[in-house]
Symmetry: C2
Subunit: 446 residues, 2 copies
């Protein structure tokens, strides 16, 4: 089988090539035009690279229509080494063809505040910043698949439409007419975990990268109504520390991949979004994440008095607590482990003390919780007690409990918020800028 080769070269590809005198054709949209009497300088990009392609054209060869930022063009010419110190090569254009004009392009050239770009969700991706974010997101997703495949996981697609609500709590979106179409009320998945656990009984190591939905009317910068989650379940891994090791290795692998593959885009973010980003990411790869029990965390939090939400053993940790622990105590990512049973869901495995469960939340500076995971309760009798204790419907979870009846597999697993991890990797602080078309309380555009 002859390897396929796409018939058009990207600008990223062209910039990596050696200069030669072979004529080339390049496509892209105009970032800037600078006209002098004899020569016109045009920078174009096609989204493949954080640096565009500089090109020079004899002003007499230009089309009569005025070229401006946003126009889409085809250029034919020859690559030469550039006299300009800003770039090593440039394109001397023989022929320029206008493919799409851009009269009154709403985004002017030059730097535009991210908040302004947010109002142009369908155009903002042409900016240098969003180009960089989407390329880093691509590398992040690729690295996730590469890691799980290297560890012999099977990628699966658990369902989006579901009849059960993994976390309880009524934060699910419901589908209109579910009862008519499916014969029962149907919701959009808030987590794939329970379905993954079922598949783990068969395939031992499974992971998913699925969208999840929360109808939480939150207007924070850290929540989306629709977001993407990496979720994994691992059979026979029953030791909480081993789970933490795995999560840490997975995140570290992704960050190392981004440092290897997307360095230019990271440098852009380091320059324009978060100074020091590269050093911080290098630190995440090199230094172990912190580990601390919930009980210890409560002790430390109690030393400080001014909290908006109360600090007390048996109450959940709030974002202000999580951020403080990660930012002021650990100065980096921190696994909080062994939360009280009462604040965690029914499927987490009880510790011997019966007051805490073998679980973790991984918290990061600025973001708070990025990962939640636990050893799963595999003992049928205790699982049934937990369902009763959490006042959940036995009928709704019968299928899930049923699996534990037939060759129950001890396992642990976790879920990781993709957009939050991307926020850490890029320095972007508002989750609405980390997915191309954000869906949040009060807004679903296009």
């Amino acid at each position: 089988m002859k390897p396929y080769r796409f018939p058009i070269q990207t600008i990223s590809h062209i910039l990596k090539q050696k200069i030669n005198s072979v004529p080339i054709t390049v496509y892209g949209y105009i970032k800037t035009v600078r006209s002098q009497k004899q020569m016109t300088f045009i920078e174009i990009n096609d989204g493949s690279s954080s640096t565009g392609l500089q090109s020079i054209i004899d002003s007499t060869k230009l089309p009569t229509i005025k070229l401006s930022t946003g126009c889409t063009v085809r250029l034919q010419g020859t690559m030469v080494s550039s006299p300009n110190r800003k770039q090593s090569v440039e394109l001397v254009v023989d022929k320029l063809e206008l493919l799409g004009d851009a009269i009154d392009y709403p985004l002017h050239k030059g730097r535009i505040p991210i908040e302004t770009l947010r109002d142009h969700q369908h155009l903002r991706s042409r900016s240098n910043l969003f180009g960089a974010i989407w390329r880093i997101r691509n590398t992040l997703v690729s690295s996730i698949h590469a890691f799980f495949q290297s560890q012999e996981f099977t990628h699966v697609h658990p369902p989006i439409l579901t009849t059960s609500d993994c976390e309880g709590g009524g934060e699910s979106f419901e589908v209109v007419g579910g009862n008519t179409f499916f014969g029962k009320n149907v919701y959009m998945s808030v987590s794939s975990q329970l379905h993954l656990e079922v598949l783990t009984h068969a395939l031992s190591r499974v992971y998913a990268l699925n969208p999840a939905f929360r109808a939480e009317p939150s207007d924070s910068t850290r929540h989306l109504a629709e977001f993407w989650m990496v979720e994994a379940e691992m059979a026979y891994l029953t030791n909480l520390d081993s789970l933490l090791d795995f999560i840490e290795a997975q995140i570290r692998f992704s960050i190392q991949s981004i440092l290897n593959t997307s360095l230019q885009d990271l440098e852009f973010c380091d320059g324009f979004v978060q100074p020091g980003l590269l050093d911080m990411l290098q630190g995440l790869v090199e230094n172990p994440f912190g580990r601390m029990t919930y009980t210890k965390a409560i002790e430390l939090l109690s030393l400080k008095k001014e909290w908006h939400y109360p600090v007390q053993w048996g109450l959940p940790l709030q974002t202000e607590h999580e951020k403080y622990l990660a930012e002021e105590i650990q100065h980096g990512p921190l696994f909080i482990t062994d939360y009280p049973t009462v604040v965690k869901p029914f499927y987490m495995k009880q510790n011997h003390n019966k007051t805490t469960v073998a679980c973790t939340d991984l918290i990061f500076p600025k973001w708070g919780e990025v990962v939640g995971g636990s050893v799963r309760e595999d003992r049928l009798d205790i699982l049934k007690e937990n369902i009763h204790y959490h006042k959940l419907s036995r009928e709704e979870y019968r299928w899930y409990v049923d699996v534990r009846r037939y060759g129950s597999v001890p396992m642990s697993g976790y879920g990781l918020g993709l957009e939050r991890l991307l926020g850490i990797c890029t320095g972007i602080g508002n989750i609405r800028d980390l997915v191309p078309f954000p869906r949040v309380h009060g807004s679903c555009r296009y």
Copy 2:
């Protein structure tokens, strides 16, 4: 950074290792138990391989509880070469530990009809057949990412919740309370194409592997209410034949990957599902797909008289027509191109004759349509006329048209039904067996 290594070995990994006398620990569920007076033979699997691990234990070392199909165990012992011709190696067990018993396991050992397994969606994945299907699905998904990454595409996540209906036709599921939560009516995406086109204006080559939803009350074996689609858009590729070349290369790459990586699982499907499967797949890799215009197809179909649906230029092709063309005329995959404008959506590019559009449906034996694609209409004025012609809401598509106003990018793209391609790869004929938890008209279990 030290490479991470998962602390537990899979059976697949163990079977590939050289035999040595180092003690090993293996986890899995029991497929069969055969007890003799002195020795007991147990076959276990963990879902990592289509062949299980044969193990032998001194009957006196067995736990008092009765071992049976479905029990989950931990075995410690030593790998030795096997005297049995069925396998080359086997495990001599020193210690057996029961992790999960399986009293009254509802699936008996041995071959179970696929229809019976369908009633046990939460247990069926432990069968040899579904193990093979999910592993092939994993390879298929991996190969899709590998191909698009090799061609410099950016993977993106277009939204599931949307305010627009790509195909028109009212086959969307609506979300309860969209207006309250989002401020407008919100639907579940039937296709990501329009959002991908927007991103193509910035990133040039994008692809997505997203779930899509159709509220079509069809009870066929080829439709799911929730399915997964590979969708790709390619800037500056404006020649229909180039699009066909690309689609063909993408599918061929995936099939070659499965032949390389999942041969044992394919052999299982060849033996138990579709005899001749391997030869057919090898043929797909080696032989070019057929290409035929819609007009030619109508000519050929008109020669045969007994159709349930009428055959006439200007009417859509029905499944019976598609299957006939692929099965009886082409004996393989066939691109049908250049359909009448009237039967295709507004975003497809008009041919010069103005009666047909530059589009294709790729049809396969047994399945009919597996891919639909086209060159996209990039001319603003014609796009607006098309929206009017198809009686669509100008307001609803304003954002999409808006992109074409500012540096419109010529492009083509397509969507491929993942489950249908998996059906071709495995020989499985009912789409409900190609996704772990199928959602169809009348059924949404778990």
